[in-house]
């Protein structure tokens, strides 16, 4: 089956912790060489206060407050720049505390036919379980979570929905969640992942170098894992 063609393909990094937004004001980003005056003056959106910052250039969107930082890119050729930007912003917080990191990829692809589109939903959420209790059952949203086989504690979560943006489209979201702790033993059961997903992650400043390492070492892997998921979902339409 040929690879699906993506109508939308975006990536994001989400970091939770305790931040001082003044450290990443738009002026400070420029002072630190993370963005240029031209980019700032040509920004689609820019806003920064002592509590909040939002900067959206042609390439990236960055926003943050005292609890969370989020970085977005909307095309695959901008994904690596997004990772670099997130790493550089994290470097400004070497004494702050962070708890978790998420690397995300979200895509919308178009099923070739209406029948393929339905087959994807039927394969992911078999409908016979609803026989006799519901009629014309359709999948509105499906989320699964699973283990990641690397040295970092965390899990993966995949959500599939009918696309609200693309006709006959399918939306696939892949979240690689890191609690920024190392492990020698990846989870060996679904129960362990369930427990991990519910556990509140602790914040500390030792996690910043770990987050930088995860972004540097695992970004490409995470994007590739997400691509495999998107491909697998698309394949369900042609089975």
């Amino acid at each position: 089956m040929p690879a699906p063609e993506l109508a939308i393909d975006t990536a994001s990094v989400v970091i939770r912790g305790a931040f001082d937004p003044a450290a990443f004001s738009i002026n400070e980003l420029e002072n630190q060489g993370l963005t240029s005056r031209e980019e700032i003056s040509g920004a689609l959106q820019k806003f920064s206060t002592s509590d909040f910052v939002l900067l959206e250039t042609q390439q990236l969107r960055f926003l943050g407050n005292r609890e969370v930082l989020q970085f977005n890119a909307q095309q695959p050729d901008q994904f690596s720049l997004l990772r670099d930007f997130a790493v550089n912003v994290l470097r400004l917080f070497k004494d702050d505390k962070i708890s978790v990191l998420g690397m995300n990829r979200e895509a919308h692809f178009v099923a070739k036919t209406q029948a393929e589109w339905h087959k994807i939903g039927d394969a992911l959420v078999p409908k016979d379980v609803w026989d006799g209790v519901m009629h014309h059952v359709g999948m509105a949203s499906m989320t699964v979570q699973g283990a990641r086989e690397d040295k970092y504690l965390g899990f993966r979560q995949v959500t599939v929905q009918p696309s609200a943006l693309v006709p006959q489209g399918v939306f696939v979201s892949h979240n690689d969640h890191y609690t920024l702790e190392m492990t020698d033993e990846p989870p060996t059961s679904r129960d362990q992942i369930q427990t991990l997903a519910k556990q509140p992650a602790l914040s500390n400043s030792d996690k910043i170098p770990v987050a930088i390492r995860v972004l540097n070492e695992e970004w490409e892997n995470s994007m590739a894992r997400a691509a495999s998921v998107i491909e697998r979902v698309a394949q369900q339409g042609s089975k």
Binding site: P4, E5, L6, I8, T10, S12, V14, R16, N31, L34, S36, R37, E38, L44, Q45, K46, F52, L54, E56, R61, L63, N65, R66, E67, V68, Q70, N72, Q74, D77, Q78, S80, L81, D84, N88, K94, V100, G102, N104, E106, H108, V110, A115, H118, G121, D122, V125, H136, G138, M139, A140, Q161, P162, S163, A164, P167, F171, S173, P200, A224, E231
Partner: protein, 205 residues
């Protein structure tokens, strides 16, 4: 009768934001003096106060948001305006797996041309290096003035279908390393020393 696999009639669960439609406000900008700024900021704080690491704020914008008590552009508009221009969706599609990228380092700049060494970023590409020349004006305007030997950049090629025609699109983007102070570098050296000591090597370089 075909049983619909996907339903669009029922109310969606508090859906993942990147899969929601919104009005396109990307050109409206932000009025930093908006009287609703405080309310919007409080609202934004509550939106951001989740616990997961999926993106909270959308690439493509939501449709089921609390309505801001604002008549003009506000922070809320700004936050929930899509980074994707919805008018362009579907005009260009790209093949999953059709993206290739290289990392380049500039070796020489002369007469509007720079020479660089490229390393493929594909996992199975080995350590093969290529040498290539590019026009300086292939870079973004803001990057041209500060271009220097040693700078790093990305080259990406994407197989895209543009209005039905398959073609390859290339982009060159300068990497921003940010500013590094002596203490930053010393902190890294210190961490390297600690790691080497932990590995039993007491002769760090």
């Amino acid at each position: 009768m075909t049983t619909p696999a996907f339903s669009t009639a029922g109310p969606l669960m508090p859906a993942e934001p990147p899969n929601r439609r919104t009005s396109d406000t990307r050109q409206r900008g932000v009025d930093e003096q908006s009287a609703t700024e405080l309310a919007a900021r409080t609202w934004a704080d509550s939106v951001l106060a989740d616990s997961g690491t999926s993106p909270i704020l959308p690439a493509a914008g939501p449709s089921t948001l609390p309505v801001a008590e604002s008549v003009g552009p506000s922070l809320q508009d700004a936050l929930y305006s899509p980074t994707i221009d919805l008018r362009d969706i579907g005009r260009e599609t790209w093949l999953l797996g059709g993206v290739q990228s290289w990392e380049g380092q500039i070796l020489e700049i002369e007469d509007g041309i720079f020479t660089a060494e490229l390393t493929s970023r594909e996992a199975d590409s080995g350590s093969e290096r290529l040498r290539a020349e590019f026009r300086v004006d292939a870079l973004d305007t803001s990057d041209r003035a500060s271009l220097a030997v040693g700078d790093l950049f990305y080259v990406t090629s994407m197989r895209v279908r543009d209005r039905g025609v398959l073609r390859t699109k290339y982009s060159l983007q300068l990497r921003r390393a940010g500013k590094w102070t002596d203490s930053d570098i010393e902190a890294i050296r210190s961490r390297v020393r600690q790691r080497l000591e932990a590995l039993g090597d007491d002769s760090p370089q």
